[in-house]
Symmetry: none
Subunit: 416 residues, 2 copies
């Protein structure tokens, strides 16, 4: 019985940092979601010896080898020739790919935008004679499947891989794999250590924890025979942490606003535009998002969100009072129903004993009842994580508010 999958990612452009490898994550999440194990991913340059050495080492394990990269017409596209050398095979033109390559070659030759002989262009239409081709609907080079190893070769471009993925999954379905049962639980407001002190791990269930600024993400995984224990654990978690299990609160917030036909605005000091940026990362928010203000200077808080200068003088810009005034002020200015505000000290400078770096006040105003709530939090994790944690916490608090969640891991208190 085969154990898992091993990836070999080839490409000098990845090794010199020009290109971020997104393929490992794509394969990893696709395999994991199907209860399959990705054992290892090795990233290396287009070096023939290093590549073949890796394939040989991988093939000794019996795992499925997936190679990504090196399919194409140029001299650093090595996969087909290296496979043929290794297996004592010869390359042949794959009819479908040959036809498409000739078609595009004719087209390009007319455009005069490319200078390449047809022989060079056709290099990418080759596969080892014993291989099965995997159709490439985006680029020209077909994928390759060699059952006896087993070995799958795919291009390096993510969009070409995605175009082949259904066929690859069909191949994988036919291979004998160990499969686990699995469940993923995103848990807000609970740290790794708190979780383990409150949680009893049932026999046979692996619990992986990924710590995040806003809590953690749990990975429950077990052999098929232990699946009932996994189900019990998952349901224990839902009972113990109601309103805290959610994948992306911001997406829920936007859905909720659309459903309730409410308009949102944000006022940001320490988060400096990050909340607005994350909201507008999502396409189609313009029906619920009015906009925001980045009131970095104190005068901007006065000018953009009508915070009284005397309030700032009395309580400071980083205060519950200022957070409340910002939330209220931006909602009025932008005629929003709901607003969030952030004011705090991102650091590295600007902290004091009473308000150290990492302190943030989050305000939430709801025009429907005219009330403003404020929470004080402490995220002393450096500038970037401080800002991410602040914004994530604000969105979770807003989601809980909009959906009237019973349990609030990040509670905001009403300010009088």
């Amino acid at each position: 019985m085969r154990k898992g999958v091993r990836l070999c990612i080839t490409g000098s452009e990845v090794m010199n940092g020009f290109v971020l490898d997104r393929n490992t994550q794509f394969f990893a999440s696709e395999l994991y979601a199907r209860g399959l194990e990705l054992v290892e991913s090795r990233i290396m340059p287009d070096d023939p010896q290093q590549i073949v050495k890796t394939w040989k080492e991988f093939s000794a394990t019996g795992d499925l080898i997936v190679n990504s990269g090196g399919l194409g017409p140029t001299s650093d596209d090595l996969t087909v020739d290296l496979l043929c050398d290794w297996l004592g095979d010869t390359p042949v033109y794959e009819p479908h790919a040959e036809k498409r390559t000739r078609y595009f070659f004719e087209k390009r030759a007319r455009d005069k935008t490319r200078v390449m002989s047809i022989d060079v262009a056709l290099r990418q239409a080759r596969i080892p004679s014993r291989a099965t081709a995997i159709k490439n609907t985006v680029g020209l080079a077909p994928g390759i499947f060699i059952p006896e190893i087993p070995f799958i070769a795919l291009p390096g471009f993510p969009d070409e891989i995605k175009g082949m993925w259904a066929e690859v999954l069909a191949i994988i379905e036919q291979l004998d794999f160990n499969r686990s049962a699995m469940r993923i639980v995103p848990l807000w407001g609970v740290g790794e250590s708190q979780l383990f002190s409150e949680l009893e791990k049932p026999e046979g269930v692996l619990v992986g924890v990924h710590a995040l600024p806003w809590g953690c993400r749990l990975f429950l995984r077990c052999e098929p025979e232990h699946e009932p224990a996994l189900e019990v654990l998952a349901s224990t978690l839902s009972t113990r942490y109601p309103g805290q299990i959610v994948e992306n609160p911001l997406v829920n917030v936007i859905d909720s606003l659309k459903r309730q036909n409410l308009k949102l605005a944000v006022a940001e000091s320490c988060t400096g535009g990050l909340a607005a940026k994350q909201i507008t990362d999502l396409a189609g928010v313009s029906s619920v998002f009015q906009g925001g203000v980045v009131s970095y200077a104190n005068s901007a808080k006065v000018a953009l969100a009508a915070v009284p200068a005397e309030l700032i003088e009395a309580h400071g810009a980083v205060s519950a009072e200022c957070a409340a005034a910002l939330a209220r002020g931006v909602a009025d200015k932008l005629e929003a129903d709901i607003s969030l505000s952030f004011t705090g000290i991102a650091g590295p400078d600007g902290g004091s004993a009473a308000k150290p770096v990492g302190t943030v006040f989050i305000g939430l105003f709801d025009r429907r009842n005219g009330k403003t709530q404020v929470g004080k939090f402490f995220f002393p994790f450096g500038r970037e994580r401080f800002r991410n944690a602040s914004v994530a916490t604000g969105f979770l608090a807003l989601w809980q508010h909009l959906e009237a969640a019973q349990t609030k891991p990040f509670p905001l208190s009403e300010l009088n």
Copy 2:
């Protein structure tokens, strides 16, 4: 003489696809920029046998091993114990990390938000007795350097790695590496094909090109004996493209504003807070950055930047006129000397034949002469790249404006 660097990236959260490994690219580009070779990157789960097997295999090559991940308090943080087992060493508390861990533990214990014994918390303050610690300014676990292998252990979190990077580079400087001569030239407003039609490549110099939305980044690399030819090429580039070679225009903009004692404000529609976010990513900008407005809805453009409603009706929100009014309006509102504005169509929806998705108008107002300039650009690369290219272009144009650069690859025209 050592050949290069080998990476071992450990973390089950990477292998199940929930985290994208960005560390390989970070190490790759940092090493490449210094003429060092990244030979391989292996990504694997927190599996003791697999990790130690990889370290042993790597150590036989004489390359520097860099391990990322597995430093922390929990039971799947294995690096320190595996290192001690492998080397026959014992873990000791690193004094600085021990002090910080105890400090944060006390603080958290008072908050009652965390339940972890001090013994568990202190696990992350340990290093092998023979190791040198690398100070962690973001998280708690120190990095580890063991010269005799040579071996560097770093945490998995990118921001913690970045906080340690200066110290890691100092260590790398002391090791004997094969090095190439290397020069990186960020070239704004020049595409790959234009560049190669204008550039003669000298003998012995490798020219790599990484295409970017705002131009390209050139990597000039050669063996030490060809360094004079590399220098000639680099100086040819500076002469041919004056005012277009700059690593990060935003950093230059902030320096320039500080030097000239000018206050900046931004008004963002399509970029939705990204410009403000990037400005406030930099620590210490509060002396020159007043703030900004995210005027997503048209009513927000009126309320926050005093854009006349009739102007929007006459010309549309995506227009040179609106960009100019936004820039002028936000500068007045926030009493800024200089302002940038962005209004465009990020997509996927909202385009028209006259103003397709990817169109953006960038405005620049300068109170010193009372003039407003506007440029129209087209970045039809999808939502994320559109927003990045828009903001980058705005910052470059502003830098050129502030420094009165002669050549302007992204010129803005004065609007009457």
